[in-house]
């Protein structure tokens, strides 16, 4: 049948032009590898950047004279706020212990004190989206109004820095990925186009002999998808190898690298993308096929 012929013809041509086909395969491979390597790093940067807001906290100093029950009321009210992720009560005694830690050997200077002069406080972590200077300003203003609250220490500027760092990282990620992806796409396209020019004569002859578009296209598309599949598979193997090299070998030195995440879907996604690229590439290269 025609399908049998298409497959045979595709594989014959894969073999006959193995040299050029290997080059196209490497193009797909390199392209996908470059894109996924960069995505991998940007993704992990994002993951780390996303945890930054967790480091940010607002300290609410409570009035010294509050009773235990009143303190619980304040905490409950704070907990109910939609912008609060979690909170932690720090009693006077805990605060004093912290200070003693900071003073190190010299902590004996505090021993003469008859009474603990510190306030008890509540440390609030905000939900991610509220870590911006304006939100933090508003929230600390609201909390400052609450009865029983003596002072709020908020560090709006730190919140703003975290917020902007995240946003810029996203922007840069998008710019870099866009530039590099369009580079890779250009190159793949040009490879395919050149490959097509090479076969143009053959295609013209087939048309003159009465071949339909499907008959002409089929072997090219099969060829393209095999090249794409192999290229994509190699890219998946490459990124996997890179990931293990980095996490296993380098994380011995730097534990941070153990945290790097390689989304598993990529191992299936890359070959599939390869096939898709191959098919789309061939289809575009052959073009409209005027009769």
């Amino acid at each position: 049948m025609a399908l049998e012929y298409s497959f045979r013809s595709a594989f014959q041509s894969l073999w006959r032009e193995k040299w050029i086909n290997m080059l196209s395969m490497f193009t797909v491979f390199s392209g996908l590898l470059i894109i996924s390597l960069i995505s991998f790093f940007l993704y992990n940067f994002e993951v780390i950047a996303n945890r930054l807001p967790e480091r940010f906290s607002i300290i609410v100093y409570l009035n010294e004279k509050l009773s235990g029950e009143e303190i619980n009321n304040v905490i409950d009210t704070l907990k109910k706020r939609q912008d609060v992720l979690s909170l932690k009560y720090i009693s006077k005694d805990e605060a004093l212990k912290e200070i003693k830690k900071v003073l190190r050997d010299s902590s004996h200077i505090l021993e003469g004190l008859s009474e603990n002069p510190l306030s008890s406080s509540v440390e609030i972590k905000l939900k991610k989206d509220y870590v911006t200077s304006s939100a933090v300003r508003q929230i600390s203003g609201e909390i400052r109004m609450m009865s029983g609250v003596e002072d709020v220490q908020s560090g709006e500027r730190i919140a703003e820095a975290i917020h902007l760092f995240k946003r810029s990282l996203q922007n840069i990620s998008i710019i870099i990925l866009a530039i590099i992806s369009s580079g890779v796409i250009f190159v793949s396209y040009s490879t395919v186009k050149i490959l097509f020019f090479r076969r143009k004569e053959e295609i013209d002859i087939l048309k003159l002999l009465g071949a339909t578009k499907g008959f002409i296209r089929a072997p090219f598309i099969i060829e393209g998808s095999v090249i794409g599949l192999i290229g994509g598979g190699l890219a998946a193997a490459g990124i996997l190898g890179f990931y293990f090299a980095v996490t296993y070998r380098l994380s011995v030195y730097i534990p941070l690298f153990k945290m790097l995440i390689l989304p598993q879907e990529i191992l299936i996604l890359l070959p599939l993308t390869g096939i898709m690229l191959g098919i789309i590439g061939s289809a575009i290269a052959i073009g409209r096929l005027k009769p």
């Binding site: 006959r16 002859i205 087939l206 003159l208 009465g210 009769p291």
Partner: protein, 220 residues
């Protein structure tokens, strides 16, 4: 069965065919002759639609070429076997696969393909070159492969452009026998040639072309 109706064709400011009208009957064998550059190949190209006429219409069987939809062209061409002047063999297919291509395009089942292709090759005395690639054949051998490819699918119309330009006269006569054979079994055959030997004493109609004008007919 084939009719040119006031057909003109030009390239840029070079008028190649001027108001050509003629017709060829079903199962007829006809020749087109004329000096180099007269327009012989252009007439054939118009017939298999590599080119489109500027004016006039061409009717071939049930097809009116001037108004034929692009999507129908492949099916139209499958009725025709063409011997191209510049061969148009596919370099990276073997001789037998080049011939078989004609059959595969027409959807002939793989079982029959090999048998039919070998039969056609045998007719042009090239059975022994089946597994060679075109580039390793002599000029005349390549030309005979093209002829085998044109006749293998038993088209209703064969268009042959200078089919013996690279053949010695004995081989040329052999090839002419092949054309006459398929013509007798009902195929229309149109041969463009500058070689008067081919049509001499055949009793067939010869259209004489010069500078894009049909300057007369004779009987070979």
């Amino acid at each position: 069965m084939i009719a040119f109706q006031n057909v003109s064709k030009h390239y840029d400011n070079n008028i190649v065919l001027k108001d050509i009208s003629f017709s060829v009957q079903k199962a007829e064998m006809a020749f087109i002759t004329g000096p180099s550059g007269a327009g012989k190949s252009t007439i054939l190209k118009l017939m298999y639609m590599e080119e489109r006429p500027d004016e006039g219409d061409i009717v071939i069987g049930d097809f009116h070429l001037a108004s034929l939809k692009a999507s129908k062209i492949p099916f139209f061409r499958r009725g025709i076997g063409i011997v191209f002047q510049d061969f148009k063999l596919i370099d990276n297919l073997t001789v037998i696969d080049n011939v078989a291509l004609s059959l595969r395009i027409r959807g002939v089942s793989e079982k029959e393909v090999k048998t039919l292709a070998f039969t056609a090759l045998k007719k042009v005395h090239l059975r022994h070159k089946a597994d060679n690639f075109p580039k390793s054949l002599s000029g005349g051998e390549q030309q005979r492969v093209v002829i085998a490819r044109a006749i293998v699918a038993e088209p209703f119309l064969v268009l042959a452009d200078e089919p013996t330009g690279n053949l010695d006269s004995n081989t040329a006569l052999d090839i002419m026998k092949v054309f006459r054979g398929i013509n007798i079994s009902g195929t229309t055959v149109i041969i463009a040639t500058h070689n008067r030997e081919l049509f001499r004493y055949t009793g067939k109609r010869v259209l004489k072309l010069d500078g894009g004008n049909l300057i007369g007919e004779e009987v070979g």
